[in-house]
């Protein structure tokens, strides 16, 4: 059977290729995987894990990290430096023999991928700093009416190192084709995420929810690949066609398909 029996263009990526691509993205666009408050960005040595970036990132003055707000301490105008890092990312397409999923996620379903992530969180706890000095004395006059004044940004507490912990995170998900501005994109999505061995369970659930939102709303949308790009680069000289995903049928039951340790895409060309 030919690759293109049911389509005009067929493309398949082995999971090893996909993992190699993820490695290149991590090294060339580290700010997609590393988030930190300004004090950490200014002093990357504070990070839980040092970032292995491509030398061109520095040559082009590209950021290692995406800036996030420090973690404000409730009831104060102070905050603690914060860093969140995705330090490892590996994907395993169905049937999924490369990643041992935790029992909570069960057996990898057909047309799904398993993902193993390393995630480190660091908090700038000023343990060596006499924070008592920062406590304001009691006020001898009542506060003025501050209504209408811009809020003062919280002041990060000084810190010499971050308190870090790293988690093994597992996820299952798939890849779909979605249209944006009339153009088809290959778009990964997550079904479920699981952190192993955190107690109590409620804390685990909170952390899972937080990381799931970070991945779904932050990282994954930035990994969409315009379907017209990679596989169709070979027909870029052909200007009289538009790219359409091959419709689902008995011959092409899944598009894209995740099977045989590969991600497969089936594409039709329509003459315009």
């Amino acid at each position: 059977m030919a690759f293109t029996d049911n389509c005009d263009i067929f493309a398949s990526f082995q999971e090893d290729a996909f993992n190699a691509v993820i490695g290149h993205v991590r090294r060339q666009r580290p700010s997609l995987f590393n988030y930190a408050s300004l004090g950490v960005i200014a002093n990357p040595g504070l990070l839980c894990r040092q970032i292995d970036a491509h030398p061109v990132v520095a040559q082009r003055n590209n950021p290692l990290m995406t800036r996030i707000d420090p973690l404000q301490i409730p009831g104060t105008n102070f905050a603690m430096e914060l860093a969140v890092q995705v330090t490892e990312a590996k994907i395993d397409f169905h049937p999924g023999k490369g990643i041992a999923l935790p029992p909570e996620l069960g057996k990898l379903a057909p047309q799904r991928f398993a993902m193993a992530l390393g995630v480190c969180l660091g908090l700038g706890c000023p343990r060596d700093f006499p924070v008592d000095r920062l406590i304001d004395p009691p006020k001898d006059k009542p506060d003025r009416d501050d209504k209408g004044r811009d809020p003062v940004p919280p002041r990060p507490l000084p810190v010499r190192s971050l308190m870090c912990f790293c988690l093994e995170v597992f996820a299952v998900g798939g890849v779909r084709i979605r249209f944006y501005n009339g153009k088809p994109y290959l778009e990964p999505f997550l079904d479920r995420i699981e952190i192993v061995d955190i107690r109590p369970d409620e804390l685990e659930a909170i952390l899972e929810c937080y990381l799931e939102m970070m991945l779904k709303l932050g990282l994954i949308p930035k990994l969409r690949i315009l379907l017209e790009r990679a596989p169709l680069e070979i027909i870029k000289n052909v200007v009289s066609v538009v790219v359409k995903p091959t419709p689902i049928s008995a011959a092409v039951p899944n598009n894209p398909a995740i099977e045989d340790d590969q991600l497969k895409a089936f594409i039709n060309l329509e003459v315009i």
Partner: protein, 312 residues
């Protein structure tokens, strides 16, 4: 197994071929001195149609590819032996001639007449057979040590590419067949050229010259050493004497085999384009993410073309 496999159906490959076929143009001009006459050509053509066949032996054959001659002008410069009339003595005396008729000489130049045969509008056919090959192109203008991002940003781009070509295709071109009306074309052009040359003569002198020349086309045939078949003679002049057939064949080989890739893929390949910097410091745009492509191979069977690559 390769990291990445991309297959294009035969119909997709045909579209790929048609795109570069439609960008093909050929134009050339040359001249040569063949002793009694000079000749030059000024030609231009483009390609149309063609049947593309992916074959099971890992070759591709394209036949019935039409060469549409947009211009096929053949010019001939002919040197006619000088003819002088007049100068005869009308009042002879014992001491010599007292009065002579004026003497007029024509065909003193070389060439005396230049004619152009517009042979355009013809259609020839060409076929080519070859294997597909991916070649890595390193831009020779790229300074040593320039990284892939700076190379991509350069104007014009200095990026490296994988390029898809026909590998040294075998080209078979039908000889240029000028058609059986060329004899009439030549005769009309010669007569017009001679009339134009003699325009300054009075009618009686023109008649004398033409009487001396006899049928002009016969004279021209004799000068050019044209055998009975003018059509074959002109075809040979273009195909063999000028070697136009070989020039065109070599141009087609170079075009499809070396100059114009069926497609080109930048290496490293910019998988994720440059995007806005999420921070309010540093450059406004982040650099693209580029994926190095290694061992890119191409082959075909009778239904599709297949590219296999590894990610570096």
């Amino acid at each position: 197994m390769a990291n990445l496999t991309i297959a294009a159906s035969e119909a997709s490959f045909v579209r790929l071929f048609n795109a570069i076929r439609d960008n093909f143009t050929f134009a050339d001009a040359d001249s040569a001195d063949f002793g009694p006459f000079t000749a030059s050509y000024d030609v231009a053509f483009h390609l149309e149609n063609g049947n593309v066949d992916l074959r099971g032996d890992n070759t591709v054959k394209i036949d019935e590819l039409d060469i549409k001659w947009d211009k096929l002008d053949l010019s001939l410069g002919i040197d006619i032996p000088s003819i002088c009339i007049g100068g005869w003595c009308i009042i002879p005396t014992p001491f010599g001639c007292a009065l002579r008729l004026p003497k007029i000489c024509i065909f003193d130049d070389d060439p005396d007449i230049a004619i152009t045969l517009p042979l355009g509008g013809l259609v020839s056919e060409v076929s080519l057979t070859g294997r597909l090959v991916m070649r890595h192109f390193d831009n020779p203008a790229r300074p040593p040590g320039m990284n892939a991002w700076d190379a991509q940003d350069a104007v014009p781009s200095l990026a490296s590419e994988w390029r898809l070509f026909f590998d040294d295709p075998i080209v078979d071109i039908d000889p240029i067949d000028v058609g059986d009306t060329v004899g009439d074309l030549l005769e009309a052009a010669v007569n017009a050229a001679v009339d134009n040359l003699l325009f300054f003569l009075p009618g009686w002198a023109r008649d004398i010259v033409k009487g001396i020349l006899g049928p002009v086309i016969d004279l021209v045939r004799a000068i050019l050493d044209i055998p009975d078949d003018i059509q074959e003679w002109i075809s040979d002049l273009l195909n063999v004497s000028f070697g136009l057939l070989d020039i065109i064949a070599q141009y087609i080989i170079d075009y499809f085999g070396d100059i114009t890739p069926l497609t080109a893929i930048e290496d490293p390949y910019p998988l994720l384009p440059g995007t806005t910097n999420p921070n309010n410091f540093g450059p406004s745009m982040l650099m693209p993410v580029k994926i190095p492509i290694r061992k890119l191979n191409v082959f075909n069977n009778d239904v599709e073309m297949i590219l296999e690559a590894d990610i570096g």
